[in-house]
């Protein structure tokens, strides 16, 4: 018997052969409802949502169901219904989500210009056209406030992650529960807390550093959790190797474990920051937005991107809303950069040769 492997023939997938009949039926079954719906919408002038719900959906169900019945008998009908409902519901929400993205891009880009990015809003009134003023001060404000918060939270979060993985303390389970409780803290309550501790009691006026404080409980659980998970991924053998060579726990951690978990830790930080960069409520309760640029975190008002958006939407004028869209786009770009960086850093890497430390 000739045992040499033979090449795979063209016809190697007999199950994929669809008869011409089946293909025609499937195409007709899909096109017909769409055609009827388009007719109802464009020519008969029926309201689009009514067309979608009362014309497109039923006709799709009937027509694809019929095709299913013809091709597969009774068992084909539920399958057809599943396919139609999956596509329909999925498409429905995707249309809404795409609408969000589309509005953001369209309205946002209209407001965007180099001047919009770096100028602030001193002497600009809400009804001024978009060629005046910008979000420069808000960008700086966001960077400052979030930056300060990151400075406070990151060491705390990293150390907590270390505590949860590297020590054998008995309190660890409890701390995890606490962190999960903190993750559920509504952002407005975090802001309210800072407001009542510092502002109501008169310790401070609205100021940037208070906003930074309010963001801490919102960032901390994310950073701790992701740090803990990254550290857990480092195999115990690595640590044992260092300890076996006589290193102290401290050295073992900093020279072996942490470098191994480096990308995970950086991702943790980026994700934590990305989460709070768009937080509005806590900042509204602690930082007073102003029109000019203020670099002082300790006193004075400070505009941030989310509060900027809020304020200009609340004003209600066409021009101010247009500004808000511009700021929203800038905010989204910032979030996108952070997430993109996080994904890039945490992508699966091929093995790299580590430089031997001498």
């Amino acid at each position: 018997m000739n045992l040499e492997p033979a090449a795979r023939p063209e016809t190697a997938e007999p199950w994929a052969r669809t008869t011409a009949r089946a293909r025609v039926l499937q195409i007709a079954g899909s096109i017909l409802p769409i055609a009827i719906s388009l007719f109802a919408w464009l020519i008969a002038g029926v309201n689009p949502i009514v067309v979608v719900l009362l014309v497109l959906l039923p006709t799709l169900l009937i027509s694809i169901g019929t095709v299913g019945f013809i091709l597969k008998g009774k068992r084909g009908i539920p399958d057809a219904a599943l396919i139609v409902m999956t596509f329909f519901l999925g498409a429905f929400v995707m249309v809404l989500l795409v609408s969000v993205v589309w509005s953001l891009l369209e309205a946002g880009f209209r407001a965007l210009s180099p001047q919009f990015i770096y100028q602030n809003n001193t002497y600009v009134t809400p009804t001024d056209g978009l060629e005046f003023g910008g979000v420069g001060h808000a960008i700086i404000g966001t960077l400052l406030v979030v930056g300060l918060s990151t400075l406070i939270t990151v060491p705390l979060g990293l150390a907590t992650g270390v505590y949860l993985t590297e020590t054998r303390s008995n309190g660890r389970g409890f701390v995890r529960v606490i962190l999960q409780a903190m993750a559920g803290l509504p952002s407005v309550v975090a802001g309210l807390f800072i407001y009542s501790v510092f502002i109501v009691t008169g310790i401070s006026q609205y100021a940037g550093w208070l906003g930074a404080l309010a963001l801490v409980p919102l960032m901390l659980p994310t950073i701790s959790r992701v740090t803990e998970e990254s550290l857990k991924l480092v195999p115990q053998e690595l640590r044992n190797g260092a300890l076996g060579l006589g290193a102290s726990s401290w050295k073992a951690f900093f020279q072996v474990t942490m470098p191994a978990a480096k990308s995970g830790i950086v991702t943790a930080i980026l994700l934590g920051v990305a989460r709070v960069v768009g937080e509005t409520a806590p900042l509204l309760l602690t930082v007073f937005p102003i029109a000019g640029t203020n670099l002082n975190l300790l006193s004075g008002g400070m505009a941030t991107l989310p509060t900027y958006i809020y304020r200009f939407v609340a004003l209600g004028f066409d021009t101010s809303v247009a500004r808000a869209w511009g700021a929203a786009l800038v905010l989204m770009i910032l979030v996108g950069i952070l997430f993109g960086l996080a994904r890039y850093i945490s992508r699966p890497k091929s093995l790299k040769k580590k430089k031997v430390k001498r």
């Binding site: 599943l82 995707m94 701390v175 407005v188 309760l285 989204m332």
Partner: protein
């Protein structure tokens, strides 16, 4: 030979304790950090509790939670309509979001080709990252008019059902619109969790179902869904928690009414949400109002705490059949 039973060897305690001074610092700092979260949360709870207490003491918890009306003049504060409003809007959001989220997850996991799966997953993850204020902006400026139109048509056709009745002649700023905005906000979260759960369903079970003659629909309904049920519930509760804590988006699109409950008229322009209440009233709050707002914050925090705990419990309940 004298028979003596030798005592069992003394068990030595093995303890891992930091030995060198370096290690002591290392462990000390880490432990301090770990406990700092504890301290922070306790501080928050204590402070909120202390400041909120006067309101509870003066008004009585029941009256505060279930009464109506929020007024500075009379110093009478109740979050009843706001509490109910939060639940109502969140419920609408979840009811709308769940079928759509499961559909997306099913499509990505079981129907899409690998390349489409990667793109779709990326897209959904990106949508989950959109800050809620941007969704609020969209809700107010873009969707409100569409939603009002839908509300009007619902009312025109099904207005005899009390849920869809409307006497105000305006369909803007209704719980319905707020519910749809919330739904759009939480679909990506629920979808991601569901997709993750679907991917963990034991392939052997699906093979068994097909080998028994099951088609896609019956396999999904009788095998995949039951096995995924608790995981999906966890994801839904996660979305619910987020919906309850949502502040700005609801504030933009919903008309807050403090004096009366809007129980079911989702097409009427009036409703409530605790978080939005806090946002709206803190600015010119008198001392007693601040206390009342803090009390509202306490209630809100307790609600999200309970929901998150239930979610964690449901998800962690032993699922021996999952791959993990």
């Amino acid at each position: 030979m004298a028979e003596t039973s030798s005592p069992a060897p003394v068990r030595r305690a093995l303890r891992v304790k930091p030995a060198t001074r370096e290690d002591k610092i290392f462990f000390g700092v880490s432990t301090a950090a770990g406990y700092s979260s504890l301290v922070l949360i306790i501080l928050i709870l204590i402070f909120l509790g202390i400041q909120a207490w006067p309101t509870f003491a003066q008004q009585g918890i029941l009256e505060f939670v279930f009464g109506t009306g929020w007024s500075n003049a009379e110093e009478q504060y109740s979050i009843g309509p706001m509490l109910w409003g939060s639940l109502l809007v969140a419920t609408i959001g979840v009811i709308l979001a769940v079928p759509m989220a499961i559909s997306i997850a099913y499509f990505i996991e079981f129907m899409a080709t690998p390349r489409i799966r990667r793109i779709a997953t990326l897209f959904i993850d990106l949508l989950a990252a959109i800050p809620s204020i941007i969704l609020g902006l969209w809700g107010l400026e873009v969707f409100s008019y569409v939603g009002a139109e839908w509300g009007q048509m619902l009312n025109a056709s099904l207005g005899f059902i009390p849920v869809f009745s409307n006497v105000a002649e305006s369909f803007l700023r209704t719980p319905f619109i707020a519910g749809v905005v919330i739904a759009v906000m939480i679909v990506p979260i629920i979808s991601s969790v569901t997709r993750e759960i679907f991917s963990q369903v034991d392939d052997d079970l699906i093979k068994a179902s097909i080998a028994l003659g099951g088609n896609s629909e019956s396999t999904f309904r009788r095998v995949i869904l039951p096995v995924s049920a608790s995981g999906i519930t966890g994801g839904v509760l996660l979305g619910l928690g987020r919906a309850l804590g949502e502040t700005v988006a609801i504030f933009f699109v919903l008309n807050l009414v403090f004096d009366s409950y809007n129980w079911f008229n989702i097409l009427e322009p009036g409703g409530g949400a605790i978080a939005s209440l806090i946002l709206g009233q803190f600015g010119e709050a008198t001392a007693s109002e601040v206390s009342a707002l803090l009390a509202a914050g306490v209630i809100l925090f307790l609600m999200t705490l309970v929901i998150n705990s239930i979610a964690a419990f449901i998800v962690s309940r032993a699922q021996p059949w999952n791959n993990r």
